[in-house]
Symmetry: C3
Subunit: 345 residues, 3 copies
């Protein structure tokens, strides 16, 4: 843990200071839990009231929020990004040394940079390449011919199938599986025929992949994840999907095969996206929605239904089954009124 | 497998006997498959008819159900709990001996109780502590500084990130990942900035965690799972979630970050819960619902839509798009009737 | 990679030839990416336009589609199945040699066929049986008493709990967990009592199981997956489920305990199926639907709601809460019309 004055932090991260620049900061904390030496942040107006009671030594906030906070502060239009950088600076991840653990099983033809780290009981296959400062965590399996770019990190127990290419500065969390066969089956008279999955997965730079997320290899061409895509946990990406740069997906999203998603999209939790669609750039899909047609315009889309009290909901569902009929009944009433001269005023 | 008379079982578990207390019982079975020596149970009225044909030597049931069953029985107001205890007694899990498998990789600074078991090819990191009779299954990765309380059991291939605390008598199933980074990303002008996840995960006693379930570490403060919480498979728990004691969740539930769930809640399969909410104690949420607001009252909530025949459903969906319009049309009809003097009788 | 003439492929796979039978084929490709030597296929009419621009040396298609393509072709009523077979033939999977990697931990009582392959750092438990040509990938854990039939393949990091039986020619992808405890808990006055899960999982022949899919062991009787069932990634199968032969499920489906699904069913992505139901043969359930009652008739079922623009959807949801009331208002209008003599014409 580092320690710095508020003024030093402001200078390093290009922020404006409010209050005493000599305030000493040695850690980050939430407004609720902060104490002497802690810097906190306000990025969600839900938590404005916590400014009244916080014991933080300083707060990172928007200039407009200083009306709620007159003590030491760092001012920025983007308090959350500033907080992220300051938190990483004050709490650097412990570095793992270079070297291959003696219990790891490394194919003789793998090429591992001297500065790379391979943890205990990891497996690295034939012809695999690990770039400078790559970290392969304990128990990972890196398949034959896989290429991992500099500074990328596989946490423990990640699986990468053969021939997958991963860019630089990526992070892959435990349990993720990259490059398993896509779901390719052809119906035949006496059952299913497996369609071999001959493509691979190409992942750009600065991609983060969450725990137990799965990204399937392409059927013929490749599945592609562009730069700076951020995938949360338990996401399923089907074969031949392409996800555009800077798109982020929350947990439990499923994307079916051959769908192309644009850049800068935000896909909320548990959304399902059908196969063979095209989603434009800057599309936002709200939680638990089903995207079953291409979305050609940027915008916000939804189909999730918020909970009601269960008895009310049961009545709604029962009525829903007669909705088509209700439209006909209303049309009949309208016709009747027209017939009897009761036109709209 | 043990063997006992019905009377001995009744005495041990505090139950009433119907019929011959000398009936010998050596195993449990379903009503459909039971035979000589088997005890079965009736806890779901769907299966009452099976009492007519079962070959069970005895049945555990509610006193009221004896009108359907006059043969040997154990009587209790809670047949399912009694069955659970008797089944565990008659079919004890095979015990695994103490000791560390020679293929496991144990950091020299880890503290492992002499009665603990560490399976083949497991990894235990620096400073980790395993309590009395803890079982770490084959291929698990237990991170640095993790603490696991007495009698807890990790099945094969569980991953626990650094600093996580797990209580006593917990069970964690294969593929579960506890303590991966929460999904913290801050939007900046030229892409995403990673928000370091500095908190941990604190898990109470008697918690069960299903296969491939993921529980993320907190962003600053900790993610907390209280005592006796039961999580099924493939559940995703976001950073800084708190789940109250005795709450149970069925498979495929997703809970977004910073949501607090009360005690004694029941969350059915595939429910999604949005972030930053508060769910009261004794809330029940039915399957596939979306909880997008805080639920401040105990009760039963739902928003799942049951299937219809696809053609019918297609018509309903088409009508749904004009629902707002239909309300306006009905209001117009009502106004027209009022204007022409046709008021409600 | 093999190389063959079109005529040889036609003879081998029983297909009709259009154009020059001496056309040389050495690989498969998509219509968009194909070049000299590649054979492509047309199985989805969405891609018919690609026939105009493809550089494929030949295309596999239906006889009716030859009006769009007059060059070299293989003709069949089922181009996708023919493509699957030809692709597997032209691009055979690299064979893994027989033998047990010295880093694997094999119990002395396991029986491993001489032609089987066990990869690095895999664990095979007491009494397990691996048939002829079985492949156990790196880092797999095969529990005690497991039986795996001839020619089945576990990719890296699969977990199979004790006593599970897997048939012949199965493929199980990384991260899959077969045989973890079902979610059996009984409510008691002071918390939950665990219900021991005493059954196993019985899996037929030719079953494929996707990455990070979980199949729970039965509570008393077994969970059963019949022959030629195809499960995509991230699927959850509860205890005592039975899935009929030839049924296929797309990713992220959840099936609750004790439900029986028929043969030849197709379950689309993210469908949830409630417990204790019976689903008939030849049922198709469309994406993100909730099956909460038994489906006794073959047919197509749905309840997924496609996305709208978020503002429109918000209005629809608000109206939905008053749907019950709207039905009452329409009934009142109808009564009023009847009272005033304005009957339907």
């Amino acid at each position: 843990m580092a320690s710095m004055t508020l003024g030093q932090l402001a200078a390093r991260f290009g922020l404006a200071v409010q209050g005493d620049p000599d305030t000493v900061i040695d850690r980050v904390a939430t407004l609720q839990r902060a104490g002497q030496g802690a810097i906190s942040f306000l990025a969600n107006s839900k938590y404005t009231a916590d400014l009244k009671t916080t014991a933080a030594s300083a707060v990172i906030l928007e200039p407009a929020a200083t009306r709620y906070w007159s003590a030491a502060a760092l001012l920025t239009d983007n308090p959350y990004a500033a907080y992220a950088r300051i938190a990483s600076f004050l709490h650097p991840a412990p570095s793992v040394g270079a070297g291959v653990h003696p219990s790891a099983v490394i194919d003789a033809s793998a090429r591992i940079a001297p500065s790379a780290h391979v943890g205990p009981l990891a497996v690295v296959g034939a012809g695999a390449q690990l770039g400078q400062r790559v970290v392969v965590g304990a128990g990972c399996v890196v398949g034959a011919g896989v290429s991992i770019g500099a500074d990328s990190q596989l946490m423990a127990r990640v699986t990468i199938y053969h021939s997958v290419i991963l860019g630089e500065r990526c992070v892959v969390h435990s349990g993720a599986v990259i490059g398993a066969d896509g779901f390719g089956i052809a119906k035949d008279t006496d059952g299913w025929v497996k369609v071999p999955q001959l493509g691979s997965v190409i992942i750009g730079n600065d991609v983060e992949i969450g725990a137990n997320t799965t990204i399937d290899r392409g059927a013929v061409d490749d599945t592609v994840i562009e730069d700076d895509v951020k995938l949360d946990n338990q996401i399923q990406i089907g074969h031949n999907v392409r996800i555009g740069a800077h798109t982020a997906m929350a947990a439990c999203v499923g994307v079916s095969g051959s769908t192309t998603i644009g850049r800068h999209c935000l896909i909320a939790g548990a959304v399902g996206i059908v196969g063979h669609l095209k989603i434009a750039d800057h599309v936002v899909v709200l939680g638990q929605s089903m995207v079953s047609r291409s979305l050609t315009e940027a915008g916000v889309y939804a189909s999730g239904v918020p909970v009601s009290e269960a008895g009310d909901w049961r009545r709604t569902v029962a009525r829903l089954r007669h909705l088509d009929d209700l439209f006909d009944r209303v049309r009949d009433l309208e016709r009747l009124n027209t017939l009897t001269g009761m036109e709209k005023t």
